[in-house]
């Protein structure tokens, strides 16, 4: 996927003025946060489970090489194959080779963010293989030639009339000639169209929410059942997983599962949780003949031992997106790449470069909600600050910003000077504000005053108040 994170400010501005998007985003705010809160209220151990989940994933990351090797050995022992991919190009090539070996023409796909990350659909299509997204939301956006705007609700930026238009434009060939706006009817239409595609597919590709080292098992969670039809009907099942998806044992995956769906959709558990181990057994009467797991690195191994290691704990639940005031205002596409919201603001600069995605860690109010709701207790705001520091070190931030920061640093390092300047500034601002105590415009601060008045400083500066308070105490 070609990133547009460089133009984040323009993207965000366009999103704020997009009436249809703003209408659709209301569904996000009225849905997920309330459902999550209700689910958590029913599980008194939830916060303790978050600690357990965090500790467990830290344990995995500290021993990632060991667990990956064990996972590979167990998949192989069951007749499956593990392929290692350093980057997107290698992963795409591996998938293509597997598809070509069985002369695949169509490939059904369960939801996979790794697939988005490597741009698999475009790559397969360019090589004459038709990829068919089967998750309802993914299917809708594939028809519209869009990318997901949310990790678990890929079409959350759309309204039903837009879905109706997309189906009306594409489903005539299957006999659905009437335009329908009823969500139930739309889903039934997609079910009927996609059922034939499931049955005819040569290869099924799914992601993995977890890879269990103990048993060589990949795990997916879905509500639709599309991931299951994707993997049990075709001859070949390919799993795309990034290397940090490891859970050591079935007991450990149970802990993660208790956190995942409650944080994501507010369900106690998703409808389908599917554990897949190898290809069909000799005695089985259905299931795929081949089972492949593509383990993608794409920059993740380089995060170990550094300030962004904690980000590898992410289980992609989307709670940080669902509770973020910035995401809620602009949606996912404005972020300009695969992973939106707070987790994307941390991960995207790592995966595609801070020179391209430097605006993302700045797109934060630092309200801290993302960290508050993260089931894996990832310190997202702190890591966004790390990126801002890197951006500054690498001279990537805008000149005006850098000048301002340097000017501030100059005064901050000279307390006497700082105190007298702030005293004078407070007086000047009070004078500018006049009798009504509000400043309507200010040189160099148009970005603030164009939208709201600046209240004038009240009373003394912080340092003066502090000094007075200390005196009173002694």
């Amino acid at each position: 996927m070609h990133p547009t994170s460089q133009t984040f400010k323009a993207n965000a501005s366009a999103a704020l003025h997009d009436a249809a998007l703003q209408r659709a985003l209301k569904n996000l705010k009225s849905g997920f946060p309330g459902k999550r809160a209700a689910a958590i209220a029913k599980l008194p151990e939830f916060d303790a489970l978050r600690d357990a989940g965090r500790d467990l994933k830290n344990h995995v990351l500290e021993h990632l090489d060991f667990y990956l090797e064990r996972f590979e050995a167990q998949v192989t022992a069951q007749g499956g194959q593990v392929h290692w991919a350093r980057d997107a190009a290698e992963a795409n090539r591996i998938v293509l080779d597997i598809c070509r070996a069985v002369e695949a023409r169509t490939v059904t796909k369960g939801k996979s963010m790794v697939s988005e990350e490597i741009g698999l659909n475009d790559f397969l299509a360019a090589n004459g293989i038709e990829p068919i997204e089967t998750d309802l939301g993914e299917y809708i956006i594939q028809l519209r030639h869009e990318h997901p705007s949310h990790i678990i609700a890929p079409a959350i930026h759309l309204n039903r009339d837009q879905v109706a238009d997309a189906f009306h434009a594409h489903h005539g060939q299957y006999g659905f000639t009437e335009r329908n706006e009823n969500p139930r009817a739309l889903m039934s239409e997609a079910r009927q169209v996609l059922r034939q595609r499931f049955l005819n597919a040569d290869v099924g590709i799914t992601g993995a929410n977890f890879c269990v080292a103990e048993t060589g098992t990949t795990v997916i969670v879905t509500n639709e059942g599309n991931g299951d039809l994707t993997q049990i009907l075709p001859r070949v099942h390919i799993v795309l997983a990034s290397i940090e998806k490891i859970a050591p044992t079935l007991e450990d995956v149970s802990t993660f599962l208790r956190l995942l769906s409650r944080s994501a959709t507010g369900q106690e558990i998703t409808v389908y949780t599917t554990f897949s181990s190898g290809p069909r057994r000799p005695e089985d009467v259905d299931g795929p003949e081949q089972f492949h797991v593509v383990l993608l690195d794409n920059g993740r191994s380089g995060m170990l031992g550094g300030e962004f290691q904690d980000m590898l704990r992410c289980i992609r639940c989307s709670a940080c997106l669902n509770h973020c005031p910035v995401y809620g205002a602009i949606g996912g596409h404005a972020y300009g790449w695969v992973y939106p919201g707070p987790m994307g603001s941390v991960l995207t600069p790592q995966l595609i470069g801070v020179d391209i995605a430097g605006a993302l860690p700045n797109a934060s109010t630092f309200c801290g909600r993302c960290e508050d709701v993260c089931p894996m207790r990832i310190p997202l705001p702190a890591m966004m600050r790390h990126w801002r520091e890197r951006e500054f070190e690498r001279h990537l931030s805008p000149a005006g910003f850098r000048f301002g920061l340097r000017a501030w640093a100059f005064f901050a390092q000279r307390p006497k000077l700082y105190q007298s300047i702030t005293r004078i500034a407070a007086r000047v601002l009070r004078w500018l504000g006049g009798r009504n105590g509000r400043i309507k415009s200010l040189p160099l601060a148009h970005g603030w005053t164009a939208w709201r008045d600046l209240p004038t400083p009240q009373g003394q500066t912080f340092q003066q108040q502090w000094a007075a308070r200390q005196e009173k105490r002694s």
């Binding site: 079409a155 290397i243 802990t255 409808v271 089985d284 299931g287 191994s301 170990l304």
Partner: protein
Amino acid sequence: MSEAREQILATIRRGLQRGPLAGERREQLEARLAQPPRNLIPARAALPPAEQVELFVTLALAAAATVERVADLAAVPAAVVAFLSREGLPTDLVLAPDPDLTALPWDGQPTLHIERRAAVDGDKTCVASAFAGIAETGTLMLLSGPHSPTTLNFLPDTHIVVLRANRIVGAYEDAWSRLRERGQGMPRTVNWITGPSRSADIEQTIQLGAHGPLRLHIVLADP
């Protein structure tokens, strides 16, 4: 050994500032995998068996499944017929080729047309047998195998699952213990199923029956 594999593992080890794990640390991890410890388990399902069954039923219903309790396994065929008739569904059934299921008195239900096989497109109703029920979230656990083809769980419009009450456990970990006690390793597929298929991808409004079954009916047989 592929070059990519070696390079990825080397980068991981460089980040962790160590070589491949060896000695005591490795033994500890091996021991942890051989005897998986249980992490924190929510108290909700730590109940006497009868209450676990109640909790299972309550949560399965909350997930939009329907549940019918019958006195014993022999009563299952009649209950299935009654369910199909109540719901106005056709009487063609695909039955999992499971000896425990096929041994039931289906002959006493002459209105049924039964086939014993994996599912194919167009099958309306399938009947399978659950390995376990998990009270913690009202979840069914089904194992793939020659007696229990996975397609039965996903292709039909109506999925009927026979569950014996004594197969209901409390927590997920208890279900894994039962699987390990079975002593046949991991089957190709373990399906945890909690209610019928659904999607909220259109305007975040939940609709039942996305790609999998529109209905999930659990026939819970004592003991």
